[in-house]
């Protein structure tokens, strides 16, 4: 829709006053601002000593969540690896040793150097097993060192739990509805107050 001529308000620049055309007052005003900033509080964070308090939804290093029995929550469904635009997740699935799920990841490797920290894996995960944490200062001496395997990712989970810096995007260890599906019995158990799907569908 074109803008009507009546709606346009033309604003003319105020002509400079005689004093202002000398530029000097403007320069003095600018100097005043500069000097004010010289003495204003500084925003510098002296990094290694001071650490930023990152918001809990920060996307940093991944972690693999544990369930309440301490087992890896991942069911090796490959959804994260499929969703990953950088192809940095490498999963080798194996039959699960536990009766409540079919598969579990025998190997779960994330190439942290290849990851672009987009969080797609987290969104894809049906059981909320993979999450991005607020850890950001990720360093290593070799590329191999930056391939995070299952143990390392579970260690990140333990570390963040200890630090109390759980991410908030998922439900902090609460499983999503899909994980409640019991093999052979396709009903949804447990708390279904907010996320339960329509039973007719």
């Amino acid at each position: 829709m074109p803008i009507a001529e009546t709606e346009i308000k033309w604003i003319d620049e105020r002509p400079l006053r005689r004093w202002e055309t000398m530029y000097l007052p403007g320069i003095l005003e600018g100097l005043k601002t500069t000097v004010q900033h010289m003495f204003s509080p500084k925003v510098t964070m002296e990094f290694p000593e001071q650490r930023p308090e990152l918001p809990p939804h920060f996307k940093g290093v991944h972690r693999l969540n544990r369930d309440e029995q301490g087992r890896v929550r991942c069911v090796a469904c490959y959804l994260c690896a499929t969703a990953c635009p950088a192809h940095c997740i490498d999963i080798v699935a194996a039959p699960s040793p536990w009766p409540d799920r079919e598969k579990y990841p025998e190997l779960f490797v994330i190439d942290e150097l290849r990851c672009i920290y987009c969080g797609m894996c987290e969104e894809a995960c049906p059981v909320d097993a993979i999450e991005l944490t607020t850890l950001y200062d990720l360093t290593g001496y070799s590329r191999e060192e930056m391939l995070f395997d299952k143990e390392k990712l579970l260690a990140v989970y333990d570390y963040t739990v200890r630090q109390g810096t759980d991410p908030i995007r998922t439900r902090r260890g609460e499983l999503g509805p899909a994980s409640e599906i019991i093999a052979g019995n396709h009903t949804i158990a447990g708390d279904d107050s907010e996320t339960s799907p329509d039973p007719k569908i």
């Binding site: 900033h37 925003v43 002296e46």
Partner: protein, 379 residues
Amino acid sequence: MDLLTIALIIFALSFLQTVCAYLIYLERKVAAWVQDRKGPNRVGPRGLLQPVADGLKFLLKEQVIPTHVNQLLYITAPSIAVLTTSLAFAVVPFGPTDLADTSTWRYIIAPDIDIGLLFIFAIGSLNVYSIILGGWASNNKYSLLGALRSSAQVISYEIPLALSALGIIALAGSLNLERILNLQAQAGLTGWFFWYQPMGWLLFFISALAEANRLPFDLPEAEQELVGGYHTEYSGLKFAMFFLGEYTHVITISFLLAILYFGGWHFPGIAEYGSQYPGAQAVKVLVLWSKVVFFVLLIMLVRWTLPRFRFDQLMHIAWLGLVPLAILNLLIVLIVRYFELSDWLLPVLSVAILSCIPCIWRSRLWISAAALEVRNAYR
């Protein structure tokens, strides 16, 4: 050349180098503070050893000479930068001096030079060679463009610089910096030439900024458009020498501003002409140096306040603004002196002329007309 002079030269040179190193530190600190940052604070307490680290880095860095440069000129250029700016400092008194007695320790390398100011201008204008040679020898288009801009700029701004100082020379009747300083000190606070030459001071300050290639007149470097300007191809010690030259120039300018316009070491109450109390010498030195530091800080603050001028604006200011005003300034000094009128007419006239500038610019009188002519000539 006696031993004392040699000792003085060594003292002044090492003093200058140290001060330059710390000026770079100060510049970084001021830049940080102005931008709400903290600035260098890792090397030593509050980062005070940063200049040492910088100097070591410059010294130990590989001395790169690109293959496509003219080697002789490439090496000569930074040497000229340091040489000319340090040489100009030779006639600048950096403390109270006694014209009658030059046999003992004195705060000037070459005492009682009657062409002092002229010497500074002459040597200072040689400095442009370092920039032109550096830019040309680098065999790099950005360096050359920076150097070309610089030559035009420095040549243009030399005129208002010297013309505005001519007012002081006419008032003092001498080119000798020590004599000019002592004259002001003898007359007391009201003798400071700033009161008689406010417009002259302003013109001198602006031209001096341009002369030293400081912002807002740092077109030769203009890193956003010219990579690094004339020192694009320089690194390590040779780059440091360009830097040293620039900061020595800033120091010399600040000394000149303090000595020519603000009574040098004189300050009412604590550092008068006849002050004989113990430690008076030290106080005078401190007064002079604090004035110098004030001007250095002012130059740095101006850097972080004003954006860079466009090149045509730069030329416009010099030829259509500063030069006519400097001539007017000289003219009123000559008139007042010739007809033996009161010196206090000078500030009144200065302010009157300054306040007339807007009228002239606004009513598009001869300045605008001339500017249009110049612009049309370029089209």
